[in-house]
Point group: C2
Chain length 365, copies 2
C-alpha cells in the first residue's frame, strides 16, 4: 500500500528520506559489515554515531556549551521522576498544570517531595495557558516545571516563566525541533523522541551543568537509582550501560535531515506555521468543525477539533482512515479529533486533510 498520512500524536511519522537511509544501511552500516542494531556500543563505529548525533543535536538546537546532553531510556515519563529525584533540592517545586502530562509530572514529583501547583488551566478544560507573568511563584521552589506543548489539549506556551535564580524545567516532547528555542532560558529541557525526533524508546535531556551533582531533599545523590541519576549518566556520556543505540542512530539521521535537507529550525518553524495555518484557517472558516483553544495558545503540532456530535466524530474518523488519513481520533480526555502535524507531516498531507474535511462536511452538514 502507499504510505498513509499518519496524524498520530506519537509515535508518529518520520521523514521518508530518513526511513529510506535506515533501510538502505540496515544490514551494513557504512561498510562495517554490521547493522547498527548489532554494533557494540563500545565500538569505534558506534562511538562515531553517538558523537555525531550529539554534535548535530547541539547545532540544530543551538545548545550552549554549559549544558550537557544525554540519551536516556524510559521515555518522558521516566524524566518525570528523574527531575525531582535530582533537582528537588529544597524539597519543593512549582508545577504549572496545563494538561495531562504536566499533571502526571506533578504527581510523580509528589512521590519525592512537594509539587506545588502554582497555576492550572483546568478551569477551562486546558484550552489556554495561564499568564506566566501573573503567577505567584514560590521563592523557595527548586525549579518551575512546565509542559511547553500540550499534546492532548493542543496548546502551547507563548512566553515561558523566567524567575531569577529558579531554573525552568520544560517537557518539550511534542514540540522539540519544531521551531528554535532559546535554551539559555531553561535549566533543563527534556523530551521523549517519539514525536519529532526518532522511534520510541528514548528521552533526551539537556541539563545546565551547575544543576548536576545534587539530589532531592532528604536523600543523597548515591541513593538515587543509578539509571535515574543524571549526573552519573551524563558523566559517562550516556554509556553507563548499553544505550538505546538504534534510537540514537535514528536521532542522528533526523538531525542531519533537519540541518541539511530542511535547513534548520527557522525554516522548520516557517513550514510548521504554514501547515498549521492551513488547518486552523479552515477550522475558523466554517461552523461544522470547531477548535476549542484560545487562539494565541494554539499548538503548531497538535490540532484538536470536533464535529457537531460524537457520532459524527466517529463517522469522520472511519471515513478518514478509509481515505488514508490515519490516527485522527482525539485523546479520550478530549474526544473529537486531533491532527498531530509534526515536522515529518508533509504540507500536502494537511492540504489533503482539509480537502477531505470539506468534502465530509458537505456530505454531513
Amino acid at each position: 500500500m502507499a504510505r498513509v498520512y499518519n496524524f498520530s500524536a506519537g509515535p508518529s511519522m518520520l521523514p521518508e528520506a530518513v526511513l529510506k537511509t535506515a533501510q538502505a544501511e540496515l544490514l551494513d552500516y557504512h561498510g562495517s559489515g554490521m547493522s547498527v542494531m548489532e554494533m557494540s556500543h563500545r565500538s569505534k563505529w558506534f562511538d562515531e554515531i553517538i558523537q555525531n548525533t550529539e554534535a548535530s543535536l547541539r547545532r540544530v538546537l543551538n545548545i550552549p556549551d554549559n549544558y550537557k546532553v544525554g540519551f536516556f531510556q524510559g521515555g518522558a515519563t521516566q524524566q518525570f521522576a528523574m527531575v525531582p529525584l535530582n533537582f528537588l533540592t529544597t524539597g519543593t517545586a512549582d508545577y504549572l498544570v496545563t494538561g495531562n502530562f504536566s499533571k502526571k509530572a506533578a504527581e510523580e514529583a509528589a512521590k519525592f517531595g512537594t509539587a506545588r501547583i502554582a497555576a492550572s488551566s483546568k478551569d477551562k478544560n486546558f484550552t489556554y495557558i495561564p499568564d506566566v507573568k501573573a503567577i505567584d511563584y514560590d521563592p523557595n521552589a527548586s525549579y518551575i516545571h512546565i509542559c511547553q506543548n500540550n499534546t492532548i489539549f493542543g496548546t502551547k506556551y507563548v512566553d515561558v516563566p523566567q524567575v531569577d535564580g529558579i531554573p525552568l524545567v520544560a517537557d518539550m516532547s511534542s514540540m522539540i525541533c519544531s521551531e528554535p528555542v532559546d535554551v539559555s532560558k531553561y535549566g533543563v529541557i527534556y523530551f521523549g523522541v517519539q514525536k519529532n525526533v526518532a522511534p520510541a524508546g528514548m528521552a533526551v535531556a539537556i541539563v545546565r551543568e551547575d544543576l548536576l551533582g545534587k539530589s532531592a531533599k532528604g536523600i543523597t545523590p548515591a541513593q538515587i537509582p543509578t539509571m535515574m541519576n543524571y549526573t552519573t549518566l551524563l558523566e559517562k556520556d550516556s554509556m553507563y550501560n548499553t544505550p538505546p543505540c538504534w534510537c540514537i542512530y535514528m536521532t542522528g539521521l533526523v538531525m542531519d535531515y533537519l540541518e541539511h535537507e530542511v535547513g534548520g529550525l527557522e525554516e522548520m518553524k516557517r513550514r510548521n506555521e504554514a501547515k498549521a495555518k492551513v488547518l486552523y484557517d479552515y477550522l475558523d472558516s466554517q461552523d461544522f468543525y470547531h477548535n476549542p483553544v484560545q487562539k494565541e495558545y494554539r499548538s503548531l503540532m497538535n490540532v484538536t477539533f470536533t464535529s457537531p456530535d460524537a457520532d459524527t466524530d466517529k463517522a469522520f474518523c472511519a471515513a478518514a482512515t478509509e481515505a488514508g488519513f490515519v490516527n485522527l481520533k482525539g485523546h479520550r480526555l478530549v474526544g473529537g479529533m486531533r491532527a498531530s502535524i509534526y515536522n515529518a507531516m508533509p504540507a500536502e498531507g494537511v492540504d489533503k486533510l482539509v480537502a477531505f474535511m470539506e468534502q465530509f462536511r458537505k456530505e454531513h452538514q
Copy 2:
C-alpha cells in the same frame, strides 16, 4: 562490505533473515502504509505486534500462566534497581557474586536495603561458580539473586539455588533463549535484549504473579518511581507509557525465527553446544591459547581466552579484525580475548575463527 563475524558481547549479531525482514518491512509494515517506527502504540497494528511478541516469547520460553511478561526500558541495569525496589520486602536479600554484573546488581540493591553477599567466586577471579547447594542462605532473605551467565568472565550456572519459600531472581541477559530454562524454578527472570533477542533499548522481565503489589521494606508501592514499578507497568501490559516499540517488534521477529526457523530452544541448545564445543575443544587441544574457566562452568555464549602475552593478544585482535572477525577484544577486567557466540553466530563463524586462530598460532608460536 560482506557481513563480518561479529563476536561482540552485546549488542551483538542478529539473525540475517530477521534483519532482512525488518529491512523489507521498514517503510510499510504489512500494508499499513507506515513503518513500525511510526506507529501509534495504541493502534491496532502495534497492538497485534506486542501481543504476538509476548505470545511467541511465552511459547519459546515455555512460560507458565502464573507469570507476567513485561517490556521495560533502561536495560538490565535498570532491573538491578527495580528488583530491590519491588521485591526487597524483608529489607534483605542474598546476592551471589560471580562476576561484574552480579556485583553491580548487589551494589544497586544496597541503595535500598541489605544486599548480603551469600557467596562469591572472586577468590579465583570468577573462573567458577560456587556450589549452590553448599551456600548458607539467609532464611530472612526476600530473594536470592544470581547472574546465570557471566558475560565478562565466561561462566554459567549448572545448578541454580532452590530454597523453599525464597524466590530466585536471575539475570539471564547473556544466555536467554540459548537453551531451554525451567521458568518455574524462578520468581523473576530478567534480561537485557541486546545479546540474543533484539537491538539494545529494552529489558524483559518475567515475574511470578504472587510477588507483585509489594515494595522494599521502608517504602510503600506508591513511593516507587512509576517507571520502576513492575506492578503498575505489568498491569498496563507494558503500555503505561510509550513502550520501545521497535525493540518489541524486533523481539517478535527473533522469536518467530527461533520458533519456526530454528525449531525451538532444544535445537538452539544443540547448535550452541556444538558451536561452543568446537571452540573449547580447540582451546584445550593446544598450549598457545588458554581458557581459564573451570570446565563444568564454561559458558556456551561467552568464551574467553588468552594468548601467551598481552602484546600477542593485541596483535591477535588486530589481525582478526582485518580478517573479518570483529569485537574479539576481552573485557578490560579480564584482558585477552572473548568470543561471544550467541544464537545468531553461525557455526561457520566459529569454524572459521578456529581456523584463523590456528593459522595465527602457527605464525606466532
